[in-house]
Subunit: 166 residues, 2 copies
DNA sequence: CTAGGAGCTAGAGTCGGCTCTAGCGCAAGT
DNA sequence: ACTTGCGCTAGAGCCGACTCTAGCTCCTAG
């Protein structure tokens, strides 16, 4: 058994790291091949990977970044910067800021989608409620705040004719 | 020229629909093959697609849903429900609510990522600022609100040792 | 009459990101 | 001695969602 509560920092088998990160063992080996770990992974006497807690923490970091769709090449780049040590903090910062923008853009998209869904849900709920539950036709209730068109694809604001059609 | 400002509802060529939706003409044909349009697309006398504004609106709807990673099979299912007409509103509602949950989950992920990035950005900004700009060591400034661990992967809260390492 | 531009089809190809397979090694438990 | 469990490698396969190609038709402008 690999893991024990001794000294400083546990030694983790690939299975345990998979458990901690939520990645499959396949994915862990794949990530390693892809250069997504800042240092080489240790091996035991018979060639098995032995991860440190730092490795696991780094991988969790990667998982979080991947969770916001940071492409593997970008994760790799960030990893390289970390691997190369001090002196490139400016570049790391730029990379992070760049991705931050990307994440905000994604959030805006999701919000747009939520707005649309909420609108549709309200329409169908009303429809299933009998349709005339005390509210006068199609009024403010369906006025979903469509975020300002800035940049992306314009989504026209919902029209009354949307109500029963789709 | 196809488009003209006459009668009710314009007739749109595939190129125009591509422009309006942000999809490529290839993607438009692909979507059609995939059954993502509630009705058949009209053709002109020589076999070219002629879209209505409703078609374009529907496609924009699809684009928004796809923008929140609704899988094509789900879009197709929704399309089928719409195509089949009245009587399945309950199912449409369930589909939409299901996807709403999925979108909220994505947002939580993105937020987690943003929190992490903001933390890192703060670390690097501070580091590049000379490091000792009037704030006492690693204090509240870096206490990033990591959302409660509920269900997903646990991300440990940032430790002081994170500061200079990665 | 010709050239350019938009569109058509069927089907192949691409890309990102894993995921799986085959065939093997080791070590501990029964 | 053998099974079970965990791990290894190289490389193939898969999946979703497009994207592109080849070879064709049509229409319009010059």
């Amino acid at each position: 058994m690999l893991s024990g509560v001794d000294e400083a920092g546990e030694r983790l088998g690939i299975g345990e790291v998979a458990r901690r990160t939520g990645l499959s063992v396949h994915a862990l080996r794949f990530y390693e091949r892809q250069g997504l770990l800042p240092g080489p992974v240790f091996r035991d006497h018979s060639g098995r990977r032995v991860y440190t807690e730092q490795d696991a923490d780094w991988l969790i970091l990667c998982v979080v970044l991947r969770g916001s769709a940071m492409p593997l090449p970008v994760v790799r780049r960030y990893t390289e910067l970390v691997r190369d040590g001090d002196g490139n903090e400016r570049e790391r910062l730029e990379l992070l800021r760049g991705h931050r923008e990307a994440v905000l853009a994604q959030m805006a998209q999701l919000q747009q989608s939520i707005d649309l869904i909420d609108f549709k849900v309200a329409v169908y709920e009303d429809l299933l409620d009998g349709g005339d539950s005390g509210l006068p036709g199609e009024n403010g209730k369906y006025a979903v705040a469509q975020p300002a068109p800035r940049g992306g694809i314009r989504v026209r604001s919902p029209r009354p004719s949307d109500r029963c059609r789709r």
